[in-house]
């Protein structure tokens, strides 16, 4: 199986480090990690990512804004996007589904299962 290329954007450096450890070292993915979403579209294209993982609450550009930027560009519109949220409110989750997110992951995640959870979401899209 070829390795999955992912772009993850979260303003919490801890989350990026844990996710990177988990996805790269445990699951063998190639991960690009960013603290903010200004470059999201360019990175998604240049790194030819298979999935984008977006934090929701971020200063400046928040997750839904970055999501819309990705969907607005024909080169990135088809890339699956998973929202990574610390919220456990059903209303928030419904909002992400309405927005068109391909999956929702709740923080804190279990680092030993993160890749599997995302793979499951990607499998479901096939």
């Amino acid at each position: 199986m070829t390795s999955i290329r992912a772009l993850i954007i979260d303003d919490d450096a801890d989350i990026l480090r844990i996710a990177q450890l988990s996805l790269e070292r445990l699951a063998g993915w190639t991960v690009t990690a960013e603290l903010s979403g200004g470059n999201a579209v360019n990175l998604a294209i240049s790194k030819r990512v298979d999935v984008v993982i977006l934090d929701v609450q971020m200063p400046e550009l928040d997750g839904p804004t970055i999501f819309n930027m990705l969907r607005a560009n024909p080169d990135t519109a088809g890339i699956p996007v998973v929202m990574l949220t610390a919220s456990v409110q059903a209303a928030d989750h419904e909002r992400f589904v309405a927005l068109g997110a391909d999956g929702i992951l709740v923080k804190p995640f279990d680092p030993t299962r993160l890749a599997g959870q995302i793979e499951e979401i990607l499998d479901g899209l096939k």
């Binding site: 199986m1 801890d14 989350i15 844990i18 450890l21 070292r25 804190p108 680092p111």
Partner: protein, 536 residues
């Protein structure tokens, strides 16, 4: 298994946990700073300025999002409570300060990494309050609860219990009925938590108590009663089931009626009560729909063109896979002949239109719960929690028919434990049983609820999955086996055997298009793996 072909630099779950622990050590000062900033905000005079409040909320949100991944699920829970607290205007200063202090003391402890694998992951982070005046019972329940992934907290008096309940907002409660000096102290506790927004399920440990107190208790939300001396396993099973029920997306109903307006009304009513509804306005597609939806309850109209509800009911009843699914008739007719005919056709219940919303919901729930309870006990292998061979065959056949229809990938894997007889011989049968139980548990944790995980016989497990590449199936089975060995190493038993497993996988359509042929080709692969291994 499989470790040799991993690329260099790859970690296994326990190495990953070590790496995260290391990361925690270096990041801890920053987290401490964040928590200190919360205390500082709270210690400032007067109410918080809007900016300070926003900043505090941001910090809480971040802490909630990361602490659990660092191995502090309790830290995440406290941070969420703090976040909630900061959102309220006129919040309780002292409460928030106390929460902040509690958070600080939690992160000063050791991260709880890697224990996830030794337990069913679904219970993680759920705090359980154990309220009993008998220390032995508290300790016993607490130990078992922890072993199953809950976060137990104990209290010995009603007063202390109420206080703890407010502090930890438990996800479930184990409650003694009587306390010294307070014969029905348990009831007092139930009354105290009755006002909770999110009332936890409560299992009561009872001695000889009269029917009336039990009735009072169940009215106040007690979901189960276990006679003392209570087996912790029984009590925790009840709790896990109650929690699963709350988490699960609810009951699934299939409603068949040729009148689209009726269907829309039924759907609206039931969905209002969190019951999922699939509707069908032409009985001709019934079987196809039945297998797609796999309903917990079927609702049938009687008079329909083409096929009558009675006929559908009779055919459902004659199929062993669906014979126990509750069937309720909804009809505008209420004459004795029609009702008799419905029950003769195999109906479980008959509801005349117009009906009361509440009554319909209550009847559906009651039917479904009874059957689910019966089905669980009849089809599960008690040692491993996997489904038994008979139930697995039925479930797998449904999945295979679906795969054939959708052309979707379906894999059948057979896994057995290498030299299991040797394990029994040298470690004893009890150790062998523990291995089987762990393997059953971690296989279930590694796959989805829709997948079939079966104990096929002896030390042989069968996994049937839809929509998953066989490579991933193998990977998941391997990780489940790794988890068994981690659990063995972590267990209180001194000398637990390490196991390895061999797995043969076949996939539809290459490997066959029936359970028999798919099992046969998976078995052939397994045999090849085994003979390859013994030669080398």
């Amino acid at each position: 298994m499989g470790i040799g072909n991993q690329p260099r630099g790859r970690m296994d779950p326990s190495e990953l946990n070590d790496a995260i622990r290391e990361l925690w050590t270096s990041e801890r000062p920053l987290i401490f700073e964040r928590i200190a900033s919360l205390s500082a905000a709270l210690s400032a005079d007067g109410d918080l300025e809007p900016e300070a409040r926003t900043e505090a909320l941001r910090v809480c949100h971040m802490l909630a999002g990361s602490l659990g991944s660092y191995g502090f699920p309790e830290g995440t829970r406290l941070a969420r409570q703090l976040e909630k607290g900061f959102q309220q205007t006129g919040f309780q200063y002292l409460d928030l300060l106390a929460l902040t202090e509690a958070l600080q003391s939690v992160v000063e402890g050791e991260p709880d990494l890697g224990r996830e694998e030794s337990t069913s992951s679904s219970n993680i982070q759920i705090p359980v309050l154990i309220l009993d005046d008998d220390k032995a019972i508290r300790d016993l329940m607490s130990l078992q609860a922890r072993a199953r992934g809950f976060l137990p907290t104990t209290a010995s008096t009603i007063e202390e219990g109420i206080e703890e309940a407010h502090r930890i907002t438990p996800g479930a409660v184990i409650l003694d009925f009587g306390f010294p000096g307070e014969e029905s102290g348990g009831i007092e506790f139930l009354k105290a938590i009755d006002k909770f927004e999110d009332k936890p399920p409560v299992v009561m440990l009872t001695g000889q108590h009269d029917f009336v107190s039990r009735l009072t208790a169940s009215r106040l939300g007690a979901i189960g009663f276990v006679q003392k001396p209570a087996s912790p396993a029984v009590v925790l099973d009840l709790i896990a089931e109650a929690i699963d029920r709350r988490k699960s997306p609810g009951l699934q109903v299939l409603a068949v009626d040729d009148d689209a307006d009726n269907l829309a009304a039924i759907k609206a009513i039931l969905e209002h009560d969190d019951i999922r509804v699939s509707t069908l306005d032409s009985p001709l597609n019934f079987w196809r729909r039945l297998e797609e939806v796999q309903p917990d309850v079927i609702l049938l109209d009687i008079a329909m063109p083409q096929v009558s509800g009675f006929d559908i009911c009779r055919t459902v009843r004659s199929d062993s896979r669906w014979s126990s699914t509750p069937i309720l008739f909804l009809s505008g007719r209420s004459d004795p002949d029609t009702i008799t005919a419905a029950f003769e056709a195999g109906a479980d219940d008959f509801i005349s239109k117009p009906f009361e919303r509440q009554e319909l919901v209550a009847r559906i729930r009651a039917r479904a719960q009874r059957v689910q309870g019966l089905r669980r006990t009849a089809s599960l292998d008690p040692l491993t929690g996997a489904v038994n061979r008979r139930a697995a065959t039925e479930l797998a056949e449904i999945l295979i028919r679906q795969a054939i229809r959708n052309g979707g990938p379906l894999s059948v894997a057979i896994t057995d434990i290498d030299k299991f007889k040797g394990i029994n011989d040298s470690y004893g049968h009890a150790a062998g049983d523990r291995v089987l139980a762990r393997l059953g548990g971690s296989l279930r944790a590694a796959f989805r609820a829709d997948d079939v995980i079966a104990r096929w016989g002896g030390d042989e497990f069968v996994v049937v999955t839809v929509g998953l590449d066989p490579v991933l199936v193998r990977k998941r089975i391997e990780s489940a086996v790794d988890a068994v060995n981690v659990q063995a190493a972590d267990s209180e038993q001194d000398d637990e055997p390490n196991i390895s497993c061999s797995t043969g996988i076949s996939a539809y359509p290459e490997g066959g298009d029936s359970l028999t042929t798919l099992i046969a080709s998976a078995d052939k692969r397994l045999y090849e793996v085994k003979s390859g291994r013994s030669r080398s």
